[in-house]
């Protein structure tokens, strides 16, 4: 498995000198499993990835498997600028959940409505196939894919891919249920306990992954003011990684208010937390352009 980060930012693209190291493009991760090309999310990082794919394949036919975690802007905004979508030699399989009242295709079509964008989804020239999540594992070549719903406003999926004895998890935009049910539900204590059970299901989902791309949008100091925004604090994500005994944790979905210094500081905090627990998990803040071999 080869992983490349094309967009690591959450919420909104944040270009500029303050984000040069970790990057300003929104969520997009490329995963190669032998010949299979998988992409996770279509944030603004999808645009440069599309350019590179065109350079790689040229006029040759190629197939892309694009997994959408959810359809908030920072996870789909790159799609209209994804050049392979306009290339007749490309076949693009798009996977995701139905929305809350609309099919996946209608949501993607909506962001390319003429009020928002000059080219309609129906005018793209690639062969587009939409696949809505039905709860069951499936295969892409030799890669096995499973998904689970995460705790975030809207219908948000996390994905796990297993291939050649390695496993990769992409699970961003996720907040611990124990916090939302304690603070947003009607029963603080019971909610927290109930939430713990649901959080344990997520730990099982990512258990033993060779790479867990998880979000840590907020510092522990910021999080109490952001409860209910659908994201995690640094310690919550590190604790999940420790409980799940993953091999490596990539801190992802950097907050647009966090410059490079702040992101580096959060990675340091994560290292301290991991060392305190006597673990040898590799942990780093995901950086745009970074490549990993699993």
């Amino acid at each position: 498995m080869r992983v490349k980060f094309w967009g690591t930012r959450g919420s909104i693209a944040t270009p500029g000198p303050a984000t040069n190291i970790y990057g300003g493009n929104t969520s997009c991760v490329e995963l190669r499993c032998a010949e299979e090309l998988l992409i996770f999310d279509a944030g603004t990082g999808l645009r440069p990835l599309g350019l590179e794919l065109m350079a790689e394949f040229g006029e040759r036919p190629f197939t892309v498997h694009l997994f959408i975690s959810h359809t908030h802007w920072d996870h789909i905004q790159g799609f209209p600028f994804f050049i392979p979508a306009y290339a007749p030699q490309a076949t693009i399989h798009v996977y995701g959940s139905t929305g809350q009242g609309r099919p996946l295709e209608k949501i993607l079509r909506g962001q390319m409505d003429s009020d928002y964008f000059p080219v309609a989804l129906g005018d793209t020239r690639a062969r587009l196939h939409m696949h809505e999540f039905k709860g069951k594992p499936f295969q892409i070549g030799e890669a096995a894919v499973t998904a689970m719903y995460l705790n975030h406003p809207g219908m948000t999926l996390g994905y796990r891919v297993s291939h050649g004895g390695k496993s990769f998890v992409y699970a961003t935009d996720n907040e611990p249920y124990r916090h939302t049910l304690e603070h947003l539900g009607g029963r603080a204590e019971e909610g927290r306990d109930f939430g713990r059970g649901l959080d344990a299901e997520f730990v099982r989902f990512i258990h033993g992954a060779d790479l867990y791309i998880g979000e840590a949008q907020y510092t522990d100091e910021e999080y109490p003011k952001r409860i209910g925004w659908g994201h995690s604090s640094i310690s919550a994500t590190v604790n999940v990684a420790l409980e799940a005994q993953v091999r490596a944790l990539a801190l992802f979905h950097h907050d647009p208010l966090h410059d490079d210094e702040a992101v580096a500081s959060m990675a340091q905090t994560a290292h301290h937390l991991i060392q305190q627990r006597g673990s040898n998990i590799q942990c780093f803040a995901a950086r745009e352009g970074q490549v990993l071999e699993l």
Partner: protein
């Protein structure tokens, strides 16, 4: 008052708990462990009330709600959405799609029963 309840919930323990409590209170119960089956049972049996979870694999609760509310025979059915998703946008969207109520988990079965009974007792305007 017709007292038939359809429970659409992928947690079997919760299905059993709700089914037991409501049947003890005079309800005829139907249950489904996923949304697709739930829609089929709803259209077949036309229950007076439906309790429906959100996060289910085959078809999630918002799709169940939208599908049922598009059917004229389901427009007045009491549909209670239950979920551990406690976010306001989710609750607002469920209301927009026609949910009678949105109940955040965990809930108490006696409170759920009271909620269903209150809505079943509310007279509907004639066509």
């Amino acid at each position: 008052m017709d007292k038939t309840l359809l429970v659409i919930e992928n947690d079997e323990t919760l299905v059993d708990l709700i089914s037991f409590y409501f049947s003890e209170n005079g309800y005829t119960i139907y249950s489904a462990l996923d949304g697709n089956e739930g829609v089929e049972l709803a259209l077949e049996h036309k229950p007076s009330a439906i309790i429906c979870d959100v996060i289910m694999g085959e078809m999630h609760g918002f799709d169940v709600l939208r599908t049922l509310r598009e059917r004229p025979e389901m427009k007045d059915t009491v549909i209670i959405i239950t979920s551990a998703k406690a976010y306001k946008p989710d609750i607002v969207r469920a209301r927009e799609l026609g949910a009678t109520e949105y109940v955040v988990k965990p809930f108490r079965t006696d409170e759920l029963l009271a909620l269903v009974e209150r809505h079943l007792a509310t007279p509907r305007w004639p066509e």
